[in-house]
């Protein structure tokens, strides 16, 4: 029998070693367990969110009718004031309806993440492969009646960083680049309206295509350098802090390392 044939041992062990080498990456791959993700869109489909959405839509419909009645016969400045007032009312209603639900969802996510020892939870849409999906656990917790008890412990340090673009947008040079681009766009738009007058078919399409190309060129000229500089600053900070990568704050759901102040400092 080959079990007793010592000459075959190297071959068998060689095969085992080759097999082990082939699967080693997968074996290692399962070691990373502290990155989780949640499908926020799916959470938004849960009953309470849907009910709040329906309620808000109904409120908006009512408000829209009132708005039309309120602006009737008013001058532009009054209309603007009324518009702002109605917008505020809509925002207030939105906060009333969704605030408690979002707070509850946040507590559930934090609780599940803490129980599973996750250092960061991100939105599902930025994960293309792997990670721990906690959507079901969060849904189960949210489906229980009564308040969700948030965890006492704060998230552990994470090798995934995040940056808040809204804060970066307030930097003078970023703001100036954005404003310059918007101004250019507005000017071009008024030129476009004049150029399109009396034109039809292919001629119209050609003018619009040229308009879009000009916008793209100006975007590259005005915004791309800022984008590149920001990306470099983010990467430099990430490397300095030993982070794996940095995501946008809007995609972070729980945990992570906020490097916004460092990036702002670097860009100033």
């Amino acid at each position: 029998m080959f079990m007793h044939d010592k000459r075959r041992w190297p071959v068998i062990l060689g095969l085992i070693a080759a097999f082990t080498l082939a699967i080693t990456p997968q074996v290692l791959a399962i070691d990373v367990t502290d990155i989780g993700f949640v499908d926020q869109a799916a959470l938004g489909q849960l009953g309470p969110f849907q009910a709040a959405q329906a309620q808000f839509a109904q409120y908006q419909r009512g408000l829209s009718g009132q708005f039309q009645a309120a602006i009737k016969g008013k001058n532009q400045s009054d209309q603007q004031r009324i518009y702002q007032d109605f917008n505020q009312r809509a925002a207030q209603k939105q906060r009333e309806l969704f605030g408690p639900l979002l707070g509850r969802a946040q507590a559930a996510i934090a609780s599940v993440a803490a129980n599973k020892g996750l250092s960061v939870v991100v939105d599902k849409q930025i994960i293309i492969f792997g990670g721990l999906d906690i959507t079901n656990d969060v849904e189960n917790m949210l489906n229980q009646p009564g308040p969700v008890v948030p965890p006492i412990n704060s998230p552990p340090p994470s090798a995934v960083g995040y940056v808040d673009q809204q804060q970066l947008d307030t930097l003078p040079k970023v703001k100036k680049a954005n404003d310059d681009y918007l101004q250019f766009r507005q000017n071009l738009q008024s030129q476009l309206n004049a150029q399109l007058s009396g034109k039809a078919g292919a001629q119209r399409q050609q003018i619009i295509t040229s308009f879009n190309n000009q916008l793209n060129d100006q975007q590259k000229k005005l915004l791309q350098p800022i984008v590149d500089e920001t990306t470099k600053a983010i990467s430099d900070v990430a490397k300095k802090k030993g982070l794996l990568l940095v995501i946008d704050a809007t995609n972070r759901v729980y945990g992570g390392t906020d490097i916004t102040p460092d990036v702002i400092k670097s860009l100033q």
Binding site: V11, T24, P25, L28, A29, I126, P145, V246
Partner: protein, 477 residues
Amino acid sequence: MLSRVCNKRSGRQTAALLLLSLVALGGCGRHQNNEGVRSLLGANTPGLVAAGNVGYVDMDALVKAHPLHAQLDAMQQQILVLRQESVSVPSGMTASQNAAYNAMQRELDAAQQKFQQDLAQRRTFYEQREADAIAQLQAAAIGAQNGGGVLTGMQQQYGEQAKQLQKQAFSTLNSYRDALFKADADHLRHMQQLLAADVRTKARQRENELSTAETKYQIDLARQDQSARLNLQAKLQNLALSDKDRADYSAQLKKIDDGENALVSRLKSQDNAALSSYVKGLQSQASAKFDAERKITQAATQVKLLARQREVQTAMGPQMQALGGKFQQQLADVNKKLASNTKYQAQAQNVHEQMQSNYVAEAKQVAASYHDARRALIGKYSTAAHMQFQDNEAIAAQMDKLAADRRDLLAKIVDQIRIVVQHVAQTEGVSVVFQSIRGAGTAVDLTQAVQKALAAQAAATTPASSAAPTPTSSGGS
């Protein structure tokens, strides 16, 4: 390489070496010892595992590399053109044309507003009617006066009880936390007092030592100058001394006293500085000790709190389940009754279909009437202004349709890319891949590897089948 090693050694030695390799590999897998596997992964993937098994891809670049990108891009261009069309306002109009255009927009907006309100009202009307009819049917089926009311009442009661349970758990946890925090504060205050007392004792001890040394130094100095001082004092006792000599001796005596005083004073200054530095050092050490103790205490408290929270959650779980189970049971009983009641089922279905059918018929009628009204308005004002106005809503609808088609195509492309990414990630030993990042740190960039794999797939498939690339053996799950 391994087979070459095998050939050079005897079977027994090779077997032992391979076993050691396997043990080492097993260790690498468990402890993520990157050094061990880095060489085994080969030269094509430097630093891959060192990045902690996390990778990322530039999805925009990958979509651009996909064979269907040209189609996607063409759709995007069309959407951009339509978008511009839908927001562009006619220019170069005369005052009367302008007035006609504005009047038309106002009427179009009003028509749209009316249409939406009309639809919403009809929907609400039919939803309410359906809910009322179903509630009546349920009440009749389960023998209650108000079917909907029974279920709502059950739900409210359950919600209250569950809330009470959660409140109790929260209160227990809060009391425990308060007690822990108080104990921590007491402990730290005591620790602070002990450390302060220690600093005071040591400082006083050092102060005494220095004071003793100063006294000794003062005595030594006096001893050194003793003979000179006595000599001068003896000379001064001579009554026959001239005024000049007396003044001379007195000055010499004063010089000796002043010299001693200056030396003693210098030593005292040095000692004061040394004492101050010593006390500062003691305080700094005490502060460090206190900080360390504070951290340890707080960490221990966090652990205790977490453990208690888990205990509370564990203890609460069965109660909540029991409560939920009771409610679910009641609900299930009612639902079971309703589900087994075929007459009720048929009636409910009939009500739903009837309401739905009524609503859809009315909505269609309202929508058709709305579109006719829009067309009529645009025609009327175009004629009045002697120029053709466009219906931006129709363009917007066309744009929405195109955007939906583009979304579908993009989703298809992304799904195909996902399969390739999965395969590449598994091959490269990367367990999590991000598709949208703001900046890279030490994670692995898999974009090029995925681009290569996509290109290889595109080359291997015919143009007809390129829309559905075949995943490789390990990446198709």
